[in-house]
Amino acid sequence: MLSLLVFFPLVVAAVLALARRMPPRVATGAWVGAAILETALTLVVVLGGSGAGTGAAGTGKDLAWEERIAWMPGVGASYHVGVDGLSTPLLLLTAVTFLACALWSLRDPDRPRQLAALFLFLQSVTVGTFVAQDLILFFIFFDLSIVGMYFVIAGWGHGDRRRSALRFFLYTFLGSLALLLGFIALYLGASPRTFDIPELIRAGSLAATPGLAIAALVAIVIGLAIKTPTIPFHTWLPPAHTDAPTTGSVVLAALLLKLGTYGFVRVAMPLLPEAWRALAPVVVAIGIVSVLLGALLALAQTNVKRMIAYTSINHMGYVVLAVGAAGLAGTDAVAARLAITGAVVQMVSHGLITGALFFLAGALRDRGGSYELGDYGGLAAVAPRYSAMFAVAAFASLGIPGLSGFIAEFQIFAGSIGAAGVVAVALPGILITAALFLRAIQRLLTGEVAGRAQGFTDLGRRETAVVGGLLVLSLLIGVLPGPLLALIEPASAQLAALLGGS
C-alpha cells in the first residue's frame, strides 16, 4: 500500500514526461486526477493505519503498513517503509499541498506537461521520505527532492532564478552530504551493521563511543538544519523563495522544509538519544536564535514573499526549539511529549498556512507584477475576497486561536518552557510576528486604494477554493485538534520515552 502511495505519482510523472504529444489540457487534467487519487490513498493509509501496530508493544517502534524487501543485504540496507504518528500527519499535508498546487496550476500556460511531471516526481520523493524506515532510502528520497526543486526554480522561476536555484541546490546538497556522513557513522557504529531505522533504535548505535555519537549527531543536525533551515544556515531560503514560481514556493515551504524537521524526530532523536540529550542545549539555542532573528529579519522586509520566507525561519525555529527542549526534559515525560506533539502540529500547521500565504503572494504578483508592500494599498476595497483570505492567513500565521498555529505554538511553548525555562526568552517572537503581519495587512489591505491596487482583480473561484481549502483545514485543526493530536500522541509519547532513557 505504501509502495503504491510512493510510486503511483512517479509512474504518472514518467508517463507525462515521455508523452511529448500530450495536449496540455490532458496533462493538467491527469495531474489533478493523480493528486486526487493520491489524496484518497493517503486517507486510506491514515485511517486504516491508526489502529495497526498497537499490539506489537515492546518491539520499539509500532509501525503501520510496514513493507520490507531485501534490497542490498550486503550493507544492511533494505527497502523498508512504514508509518506512525510522526509521519501520517505529514503524509496528509503532502497530499493536500500537491492537490492545491495542481488545482492552482490548472490554467498555467508555461509548459504544463513538464511542470506536472516534475511536481508528481516531487510528490513521490516527498512521500518516500516520510515513509522511509531505512536510512539509505530516506537519504535517496531526501536528496532527490533537492534535484526536483532545483528544476522547478531554475525552469519556472522568475527574477534571478538560475542563481537562486543554484544556491539552493548547492547549500541543500552539501547539507545532505553531511547527513550521509552521519548516516554512515550510524551504520558503522551498529552491531550488526544496518541502515534499518527500527533495528538501529532497538540495537542502538555508537552507544559505547559517546564522542563518535556526538560527532555523528553533529553531522546529521547540520544536514537537517540546512534543510529546515535554521540560522545561520538559512541564507539560501529567501532568494529561493523570492525567485521560485508560486507553486514551487508552496511546496518548498510547506513540504521540503519539513523534510529537515521530520529528520529530527525520525532519525536524530530516536537513533542517538544519549547524544541528543547532550547536544540539546545547543539545539535549543539554535531554535531560540532562529525564532527571534527570523522574526526580526521578517519585520525588516518590504517584499512580501521575502517576509513570508523569513517568517518560515521563525516558525521552523519553534519546531527546533521544541525538539531541543524535549531533550532537556529529563524524566518530565509530559513536557517532552507536549513539545514533540506541538512540533509535529507546527509542521502541519505551517505547511497549510504558509502554503496559503505563498499562494496569496503569487496572486499579488500575477495581478500587480510586484511583491513590494509599498506598491499596493487599500486592496480591501477592490478585492474583498483576496483581503479576507490574506487577513485570515496572516492571523493564522501569527498564532491566533481557532486556527492551527495556536494549537502548535501553545503546546510548543508550554512543553518547552516546562522542560527548560530558558525557552521563555523566545516568547517575544510571537509578538514580533504579530507586529509584522499587522503591518503587512495595514499596508496592503487598508487605507485608500493606491498604486498597483488600482484595477486589481479579486481572486477567482478556483483560487478562492484552493486558498480557502487550506485555511479551512487550519481552522478545523484549530477548533477540533483532538483527532490530529490523537494521531500524533502515541508516537510522540514513545519518542519522549526513548529520550527519557527508559
Binding site: M72, L177, L188, L296, A300, G421, L431, R439, T464, E489
Partner: protein, 626 residues
C-alpha cells in the same frame, strides 16, 4: 440540561458570527447587510437567555474534543464568580447590538459577526477552568478587538489604533504562555484552581505571567495608553469592549486568580498598588481630556484600577461588584457619547458644550451615568467602590487613602463632564471655552445626522436603570443571593465619608472646572515613551540585522566559490571500490546533476565536483572501516 445551555451561550454566537463573516467575505455582503442586524440581535438575545439559565443552574460543560484521548477532559464551568458576570456580558452585548442598529453602524454583517464572535470569546473566558482554554479565548478576544477597533479600515489612523491596542495587550498576553509552561514545570497542571499549589520559583513565574496578562488587558499602568488608541473604534465597540468585556476581563482574571497572587506573597501587593496608582494617574488623565470618549477611556482604566486593587487585597466580592456596576455605567456613557457623535459628528467637548440641553433625554440618562461614575450615593458605583476600599483598609491604610484619592478624582472628572455637557454654550468653560459656538466644531470627525434614533435611546434607558439601581447588590440580602457573601463589608462611617467626599468634589468641579494640563491631556506621554523605548529600537535593530544578514549571505556565496575551487583540485578520488549502495546514490545524483548542468552556465560544474568529493569521502570512509 445546564450543559446544553452553556453550550448555547458559547457556541451559538461563535457559529453565527463566523457564518456572517464568511458569507460576507465570500461575496454575500449585500445579503449579510440585510440580515446582519436581525441575526445579531436574535442570537445575542438567545445567548442572553441561555447565559441567565446557565448561571442560575451553575452549569458545567465538558469539552472532550479539545484534547487527545486519554488526556483529562477540559471543561467550562459557571462558578460563584462567573455567575453574575456571564449574564452581565450577555445583556450588555445585546443592548449594544440594539444600539448599533439604531445608530446604523455599517456594514452590519461584518460588525455583528465580529461582535458575536467577540462575545462568544468573552463567555469562554468567563467560564474557563484551565489555562489552555483561557488563553484560547483570551487571544480570540484580542484578535476580534483589533478588527473591531480598525473596523473603518479606510482610515489609516483607525487601523493603526487597532494595531497598537492589539500589540500592547498581546505583550501582556505572553504572560499566559509563560504561565502555561511554568504550570507544567511546577507540576500543577493547567487547572486554574490548582495553580496556587505551585512551589518555589515557578510560583513566582506563574504569578508574574498572570499578572502581566491581567494588567495588560485591564489597561493598567504601564499598559494604559492602548485604550486611548482603542477609541478609534465605533462607539458601540467601545461600549462593549472598553466597559463590560475586554478590559473588564483583565480585572476578572486577576479576581479569579487572586488566591494565586496571594500565595506568591509579592504579586498581591504589586497588583493592589498598581490598581491604586492607575486609579489615581488615569483619574488625572481623565480630568484633563478635551474629548468625551478619551475621558471615558481614561476613566475606564481608572475604574478598573479598583477591580485590580480588590484582586490584590483579596476583596473578590467588592471587585465583582465594582466590575458589574462599572460595566453598566460605562456602557451607558459610551452609548451616550456614540449617539452624539453620530448626531453632531464630533466627540470633542468644544462641539459638545451644552449638548445635553439639545437632546435632554440622552442628557438625562448620561447624567445618571455620570453621577454613578462619580460615586454619588446611592448609585451603583458608590457602594461597590466602598466595598473594595473596605477590604483595602483591612490590609493597609495607605492603600485605602490612595483609593480615596482615586474616588475623589472620579467625582472630579464626572463633575467636569457634566458641567461641559449642560452649561449653556454661550458661557466659556475651563479649557474648552472661548473658541466660538459649539456648532463650529460639529462634523469634524464624520458627517452628523442631527438626530438620535429611538432604537439607540432604548438600550440607554435600560443601562441607566442598572447604573442607578445596581447599588442594591451591595446590600447584604441581594449579595448573598448572588453568592457573593463572605467578604469585608464597608462600615457606615466609611460609606458616609466617601459619599460626602464625592458630593463635595462633584459640586466643586461643576462650579470650577480645572485649568488645562497638556501633559495629562497627552496621557503623560505613555505611548510616545513606549514607541521610543521599545518600538523604534526594535525596528532599527531589525533593519540593521537585515543589512547584516544580506552581507552574511554575500560572504557565504563568495566563500563557497573559493572553497569549492580548491576542493575541485583534489577531486580525483578513486571510487572504483565503492559499495553498491553509495554508488547507486552517486549514479542517480550524478545523472540528475549532469542533466541539471545542461540548463546551466559552467558554475554548477564546480559545485557538483565539490559534492562528488564529499560523496567520495563518504564512500572512502565506508570502504576503509568495513
Amino acid at each position: 440540561m445546564s450543559a446544553a445551555l452553556l453550550a448555547v451561550a458559547v457556541a451559538l454566537p461563535a457559529v453565527a458570527g463566523i457564518l456572517l463573516l464568511v458569507v460576507g467575505a465570500l461575496g454575500g455582503s449585500r445579503r449579510t447587510e440585510r440580515i446582519g442586524a436581525p441575526i445579531g440581535i436574535a442570537v445575542a438575545a438567545l445567548a442572553l437567555v441561555a447565559a441567565i439559565l446557565a448561571a442560575l443552574g451553575r452549569a458545567r460543560l465538558e469539552l472532550p474534543f479539545l484534547t487527545a484521548r486519554g488526556a483529562g477532559a477540559t471543561e467550562l464551568r459557571v462558578d460563584a464568580l462567573a455567575a453574575p458576570v456571564l449574564p452581565l456580558v450577555a445583556v450588555i452585548a445585546l443592548l449594544v447590538l440594539v444600539f448599533a442598529t439604531g445608530d446604523a453602524t455599517r456594514p452590519a454583517g461584518r460588525f455583528h459577526g465580529l461582535m458575536l464572535l467577540f462575545s462568544a470569546a468573552v463567555a469562554v473566558t468567563v467560564t474557563a477552568t484551565d489555562l489552555a482554554v483561557l488563553l484560547f479565548a483570551w487571544e480570540v478576544m484580542g484578535a476580534t478587538s483589533y478588527a473591531l477597533i480598525g473596523f473603518r479600515w479606510r482610515e489609516p489612523a483607525r487601523v493603526e489604533g487597532g494595531m497598537v491596542a492589539f500589540l500592547v495587550t498581546r505583550t501582556g498576553d505572553l504572560g499566559l504562555y509563560l504561565a502555561a509552561g511554568a504550570a507544567l514545570a511546577a507540576g500543577t497542571g493547567w487547572r486554574l484552581d490548582a495553580l496556587p499549589d505551585a512551589q518555589g520559583p515557578w510560583l513566582a513565574v506563574l504569578a508574574a505571567g498572570i499578572l502581566a496578562a491581567g494588567l495588560g488587558k485591564a489597561a493598567q499602568l504601564p499598559f494604559s495608553f492602548w485604550i486611548s488608541r482603542a477609541m478609534a473604534g465605533p462607539s458601540a465597540v467601545s461600549a462593549l469592549l472598553h466597559s463590560a468585556a475586554m478590559v473588564a476581563m483583565g480585572g476578572y482574571l486577576l479576581l479569579r486568580m487572586s488566591p494565586l497572587l496571594a500565595a506568591s506573597g509579592w504579586a498581591a501587593p504589586v497588583a493592589a498598588w498598581t490598581g491604586a496608582a492607575t486609579a489615581i494617574a488615569l483619574g488625572v488623565v481623565a480630568l484633563f481630556q478635551t474629548d468625551l470618549k478619551q475621558l471615558l477611556a481614561a476613566s475606564t482604566a481608572a475604574q478598573l484600577g479598583f477591580v485590580v486593587l480588590a484582586a490584590g487585597v483579596g476583596g473578590t466580592t467588592g471587585g465583582t461588584l465594582q466590575l458589574i456596576a462599572h460595566a453598566a455605567t460605562k456602557a451607558l456613557l459610551f452609548l451616550v457619547a456614540g449617539a452624539w457623535l453620530t448626531a453632531v459628528g464630533t466627540k470633542e467637548f468644544a462641539g459638545l458644550r451644552g449638548i445635553a440641553r439639545r437632546w435632554p433625554v440622552v442628557g438625562l440618562v448620561g447624567t445618571a451615568g455620570a453621577l454613578s461614575l462619580a460615586g454619588i450615593p446611592p448609585l451603583s458605583l458608590w457602594a461597590a467602590k466602598d466595598t473594595v476600599l473596605a477590604a483595602a483598609l483591612e490590609q493597609n491604610p495607605a492603600l485605602y487613602a490612595a483609593g480615596l484619592v482615586g474616588a475623589a478624582l472620579s467625582a472630579a472628572y464626572s463633575g467636569r463632564m457634566l458641567a461641559l455637557l449642560w452649561r449653556p454654550a454661550s458661557r466659556g468653560i475651563g479649557g474648552s471655552g472661548r473658541d466660538g459656538a459649539p456648532e463650529q466644531h460639529w462634523d469634524t470627525e464624520e458627517k452628523g445626522t442631527r438626530r438620535v434614533s429611538a432604537l439607540a435611546v432604548a438600550p440607554m434607558l435600560v443601562l441607566a436603570i442598572a447604573a442607578l439601581g445596581l447599588g442594591v447588590l451591595a446590600l447584604p440580602g441581594p449579595r448573598s443571593a448572588l453568592g457573593l457573601a463572605g467578604d469585608v463589608e464597608p462600615a457606615w462611617p466609611e460609606l458616609l465619608a466617601s459619599a460626602a467626599l464625592a458630593v463635595v468634589i462633584l459640586l466643586l468641579a461643576l462650579v470650577r472646572p480645572p485649568r488645562p494640563w497638556a501633559l495629562a491631556l497627552d496621557w503623560f506621554g505613555m505611548e510616545r515613551a513606549a514607541r521610543r523605548v521599545l518600538a523604534a529600537p526594535t525596528l532599527r535593530l531589525a533593519d540593521r540585522l537585515a543589512a547584516a544578514d544580506d552581507a552574511f549571505a554575500r560572504l557565504l556565496d563568495g566563500g563557497n566559490t573559493v572553497l569549492l575551487r580548491s576542493a575541485a583540485v583534489s577531486a580525483r578520488v578513486d571510487d572504483a571500490g565503492a559499495v553498491g549502495t553509495v554508488r547507486r546514490v552517486a549514479r542517480t545524483t550524478s545523472a540528475l546533476g549532469t542533466a541539471a548542468r545542461r540548463s546551466q552556465t559552467g558554475n554548477l560544474y564546480q559545485y557538483y565536483l565539490a559534492a562528488v568529493v564529499l560523496l567520495a569521502l563518504a564512500v572512502l570512509l565506508l570502504i576503509v572501516v568495513r
